[in-house]
C-alpha cells in the first residue's frame, strides 16, 4: 500500500467537505455529513495499520532473499547479503519497506546475470511475489468500481 492511513483519511475529509457537502441539500443529510467529518477527524490520530501484514510480508521476503542468496553464492549474492543485513529489525512497516527495496535491487541484480545462473534465485523470489500477491488481495473487499464510475447504487 502506498498511502498512509492518515493521508487517506485526510483525503476523505477534504472530499466530503469540498466536493460532497456543497451538493447535499437536505439539512438532516448535511448534519450526518458533518457528523461523519467529526468522527473522521477524531479517528485520524487514533488508528494504526495492522503490523501483522507487514510482519508476514517481511518474513516471506527475508526468506526469499535468503534462498536467493544461497542459490547465487556469496560472491554473486553479496549485494543481497548486504541488503538483508542492513534491513532494520523493526518497526515492522520499516522492515517490510526495506525488504521490498531489497527485492527490487535483487531483481536488478538478476537481470544483469545470465538467465541460467539467475534462474534458481529468481524462482525463490517469484515464490515470495506469488504468496505476497495472494496475501494482499485476500485482505481486500469487493470493489465498488461500478458505483464509483456511474454514481448509481447497485442495490
Amino acid at each position: 500500500m502506498q498511502l498512509a492511513v492518515e493521508a487517506l483519511l485526510d483525503g476523505v475529509m477534504q472530499t466530503l467537505r469540498q466536493a460532497v457537502l456543497p451538493a447535499v441539500q437536505g439539512r438532516f443529510a448535511r448534519g450526518q455529513l458533518f457528523a461523519a467529518l467529526d468522527v473522521l477527524q477524531n479517528l485520524r490520530d487514533r488508528v494504526e495499520p495492522k503490523v501483522a501484514f507487514d510482519e508476514s510480508e517481511a518474513a516471506s521476503a527475508s526468506d526469499a532473499l535468503t534462498h536467493a542468496l544461497d542459490a547465487l553464492g556469496p560472491d554473486l549474492g553479496a549485494p543481497l547479503a548486504r541488503a538483508l543485513a542492513e534491513a532494520p529489525s523493526g518497526p515492522p512497516p520499516e522492515r517490510a519497506a526495506a525488504l521490498r527495496a531489497a527485492l527490487v535491487g535483487a531483481f536488478a541484480l538478476l537481470d544483469r546475470l545470465p538467465a541460467d545462473v539467475a534462474a534458481p534465485a529468481r524462482a525463490a523470489l517469484a515464490k515470495h511475489l506469488a504468496a505476497q500477491a495472494m496475501r494482499d488481495v485476500a485482505m481486500l473487499k469487493p470493489s465498488l468500481l461500478q458505483e464509483i464510475s456511474t454514481g448509481i447504487s447497485k442495490g
Partner: protein
C-alpha cells in the same frame, strides 16, 4: 470556478464560435463521473435550429496522465473528423487559461452510453449475446481502420514516428518507466520484475501505425436497441501516438478490461479478437510481441494508478477515485504475476 461561472464563460466562448446563431445559450451543463483523467463536462447549446450536444474536456489540476497536453489528441480528433472512424467531430481547442482557467477542447456529443469495465449488478458482463454479436465486429473493425489509416496523409507526423526496429517498443517502455519514476514512489517488487523482463524482450515493430493507446471497454460509446448494440464513438484519445498496432490489440484484450467476463473488452474471446483484427486489418499478429505488450499493458496501468496516488498523497487532488488505486494495485500485481508466470492461472 463554480458551475454558474463556468456556464457564463462557456456561453461567451461558444457565442464567438457560432457567429451565425443569435445568442446561443449553454444549458444542462453537468460534470461527468466517467473518465478518471481529464475533467469532462457535458452540455447542450440552444440555438435557433434546436439543441446541439457537446462534451468539453479540460486539463485537470492533477491527474492520472500528468503532465497534460490536450493538443495532440485534439489535433488527431480534428484531423479524423472526416474519417469514417467513429470518432467525435472536435471543432475547438482553447489553450488560453483566461477562458476556463485551464486549456480545454470541445467535441460534439455522439449518441450512446459508455459501458464500463466492471461486472453488472448481477455479476454479468456489459453485453448480452446479441449485443456482443453486433458490437464486436464494429469494435474490431474500427480498430483495424484506425491501424490502417494513412497517418502521414492526415498530417499526423507531428506525433513522432519512432522509426523502424525496436524504437517503437523502446519508446513506449521508456515512456511508462519514466512515469513510474516521476511518481517518486517506491517501486513495488512485482513491477521491478516485470520492467526487467520487458527491457530484455523489446520486440521489433514491422510497420508503424496510428495507435489509440487506450482502446478498450470503457472508451466505447455504444447505443443499444433490442437485440443489438452499435459502436457510435471511440473516446479518450489522450494516449494517442505512433507505434506498434499490437500495443492497442494487447491493451484491448487485456484482463484489465473484461468486465466480469472472460471476453476481450466484454465482447469475444481474446484469441478470436486477435484473429478477427488480423483479418480486418490485413496486419499480421505475433505472439511474442502481443505478450510483450500484454505485460506492458499492466505496467502502464500501474504507472497510471501510481501517478494518481502520488497526486492524491501530495494533496494536489481530492478526487477519491485516485485513492482507490491503493487497493486496486494488488489486483494488478495478481494479473502481472499470471502474465509473467510467477503466479499460475493465466
Amino acid at each position: 470556478m463554480d458551475d454558474h461561472a463556468l456556464v457564463a464563460r462557456l456561453e461567451k466562448y461558444v457565442r464567438a464560435r457560432l457567429p451565425g446563431e443569435h445568442a446561443p445559450r449553454v444549458v444542462a451543463l453537468e460534470r461527468s463521473t466517467e473518465g478518471f483523467s481529464q475533467e469532462t463536462f457535458i452540455f447542450d447549446v440552444e440555438t435557433s435550429a434546436g439543441r446541439r450536444a457537446f462534451v468539453l474536456k479540460r486539463e485537470p489540476l492533477a491527474g492520472l496522465l500528468e503532465p497534460y497536453d490536450l493538443e495532440p489528441e485534439f489535433r488527431v480528433l480534428h484531423a479524423l473528423s472526416s474519417d469514417p472512424l467513429p470518432s467525435p467531430p472536435t471543432p475547438w481547442l482553447e489553450r488560453d487559461p483566461i477562458v476556463l482557467e485551464r486549456p480545454f477542447y470541445v467535441m460534439e456529443r455522439l449518441p450512446g452510453d459508455v459501458p464500463i469495465p466492471a461486472p453488472g449488478p448481477d455479476g454479468s458482463g456489459p453485453f448480452d449475446d446479441a449485443e456482443r454479436a453486433t458490437l464486436a465486429p464494429e469494435v474490431i473493425g474500427a480498430l483495424a481502420r484506425l491501424h490502417t489509416i494513412d497517418w502521414r496523409a492526415y498530417g499526423l507526423d507531428f506525433l513522432g514516428d519512432p522509426g523502424p526496429g525496436r524504437a517503437a517498443a523502446t519508446r513506449e517502455l521508456q515512456r511508462w518507466e519514466a512515469r513510474i519514476d516521476a511518481t517518486g514512489l517506491p517501486l513495488d517488487p512485482p513491477l521491478a520484475e516485470a520492467l526487467g523482463w520487458l527491457r530484455t524482450h523489446v520486440p521489433e515493430t514491422p510497420d508503424v501505425t496510428l495507435v489509440h493507446g487506450d482502446y478498450r471497454l470503457g472508451n466505447f460509446l455504444v447505443t443499444r436497441t433490442p437485440g443489438a448494440a452499435r459502436l457510435t464513438g471511440v473516446l479518450d484519445w489522450e494516449m494517442v501516438h505512433l507505434g506498434d498496432p499490437l500495443e492497442d490489440v494487447a491493451w484491448c484484450i487485456s484482463p484489465l478490461w473484461r468486465g466480469g467476463t472472460s471476453f476481450a473488452s466484454g465482447l469475444v474471446p481474446p484469441d478470436d479478437f486477435v484473429a478477427r483484427w488480423v483479418e480486418a486489418s490485413g496486419i499480421a499478429s505475433d505472439d511474442a510481441r502481443l505478450h510483450f505488450y500484454g505485460v506492458l499493458a499492466i505496467v502502464k496501468m500501474a504507472a497510471i494508478m501510481l501517478t494518481g496516488l502520488r497526486a492524491f498523497r501530495d494533496g494536489r487532488t481530492h478526487d477519491l477515485r485516485m485513492a482507490i488505486f491503493d487497493h486496486q494495485l494488488p489486483y494488478l500485481y495478481l494479473l502481472l504475476g499470471m502474465m509473467r508466470g510467477w503466479l499460475g492461472g493465466f
